[in-house]
């Protein structure tokens, strides 16, 4: 039998700092725990088995939610990726779960034949196949680990509310730091390009810098924060509208060509960034994203090109 690591529900300062760093986008893709079976708070052979991913953030949320409760945690090898994303690509999947049950000899550790899988893992796991391949019955638990105590208290039943993913303000704001950091390379590239243009044409660069930063924040901060309040359903459309709104603060005193240039550039930048937020959202379908992209991406390319041409034209006409 493979070694079982004993753990408890308490998160150390190190765990909390690690989580904070990950949320701020540092070391995000290298925050893993060893796959295998963990004994949480001195479980017995009758204690339930909770399946999780080997992303340390997922693992820590599960064990800290089960405060003082004896349980087994079966950690699958998901290459350090969270349950939902790993399930989507199949690493949190039927084969890995069945293999991990066998590798850890779970049937000798527990007396029952049930494993509790987080509901968002269902994208990768076929419950009926796990049952026929391993003899273990898959019980889908709540979407959020914070609902585990209520789930246990309710005799391992999931309420309707526990089954639904949310995307409320807090959920969206949690994602903002990663958005801001992730796309910053594009912002720096654009800033660099416009600074070069400013040098070349010997004009004050500050307007360009401010407009670019405002457009960037529209797409990465305001867009996610205000998402349900922005008109329209397509993310690219919502982003473009926000970019246009951002213009109000900066270009009212400009000549016509410059106004047009920034109108195009700011709406395009914000549109592109918010369109990419579909990847972080919990309610967009791939078919829908493809549909909006078929229209939005050509418009964004045209908007960026035309915006730059108009900006340069304005400098030449000056």
């Amino acid at each position: 039998m493979s070694a079982i690591t004993r753990i408890n529900s308490r998160l150390s300062l190190f765990d909390r700092l690690g989580a904070m760093m990950v949320r701020l986008s540092f070391n995000r893709s290298d925050y893993a725990v060893e796959p295998g079976l963990y004994a949480l708070n001195n479980p017995t052979p009758d204690s339930p088995v909770f399946v999780s991913a080997n992303y340390k953030l997922s693992f820590d949320i599960v064990r800290s939610s089960l405060l003082g409760f004896g349980a087994w945690i079966l950690v699958l090898d998901t290459k350090g990726v969270n349950v939902w994303c790993a399930a989507g690509r199949g690493t949190f999947g039927t084969v890995e779960l069945v293999n991990r049950i066998k590798l850890t000899e779970l049937d000798k550790v527990v007396g029952h034949r049930k494993v509790i899988v987080p509901q968002l893992g269902a994208t990768g796991i076929a419950a009926h196949e796990v049952a026929s391949l391993s003899g273990f019955q898959v019980v889908y638990g709540p979407v959020r680990a914070e609902d585990l105590p209520a789930f246990i208290h309710d005799n391992f039943k999931v309420s309707g509310e526990m089954r639904q993913v949310r995307f409320n303000l807090k959920d969206r704001l949690t994602l903002v730091p990663v958005e801001v950091v992730h796309y910053s390379k594009y912002l720096f590239l654009l800033l660099f390009f416009f600074l070069l243009l400013s040098c070349f044409f010997k004009v004050d660069p500050w307007l360009a810098v401010i407009n670019l930063v405002v457009a960037y924040l529209c797409g990465t901060v305001l867009g996610p924060a205000l998402l349900p309040a922005i008109p329209g359903r397509s993310f690219a459309m919502k982003g473009a509208l926000l970019g246009l709104a951002g213009i109000i603060f900066t270009v009212s005193r400009l000549a016509l060509f410059d106004q047009l240039a920034w109108l195009l550039l700011m709406s395009t930048i914000s549109s592109y960034l918010l369109m990419n937020f579909t990847g972080s959202s919990t309610y967009t379908s791939p078919s829908g994203v493809q549909k909006e992209m078929r229209l939005a991406v050509p418009l964004q390319i045209a908007g960026l090109a035309l915006g730059i041409i108009l900006y340069i034209a304005a400098r030449i006409i000056g």
Binding site: H128, Y140, R163, G279, S285, G288, K291
Partner: protein
């Protein structure tokens, strides 16, 4: 929050449905309800094509084209001429 209308590829074959309720259990957007011991699609536009229902349907009564839904992944797929994919050039995930 609702996304685009009438875009999803979700299909349910009632003749194959045995009423096991697994789709109701795994759907994160309450797309299904039980009706006369069979599953019923009650909120089609809420479907995000995650594929959990089809994966857990023991009789293959549900089909849905699921896959990578992020714009970066779709652009990645177009550039490489493949299906949409999250995998970046360094072999690690963009969306950890």
């Amino acid at each position: 929050m609702k996304y685009l209308k009438d875009v999803v590829t979700l299909k349910l074959d009632l003749d194959k449905c045995i009423g096991c309720q697994m789709c109701v259990n795994v759907c994160p957007h309450s797309v299904f309800e039980m009706n006369n011991k069979k599953a019923k699609i009650v909120d089609r536009d809420a479907c995000m094509e995650c594929g959990a229902c089809a994966k857990n349907c023991p009789t293959k009564a549900i089909t849905v084209k699921s896959g990578v839904g992020c714009a970066a992944g779709i652009i990645n797929g177009i550039l490489k001429g493949t299906e949409p994919s999250c995998d970046c050039s360094d072999g690690k995930s963009c969306c950890g």
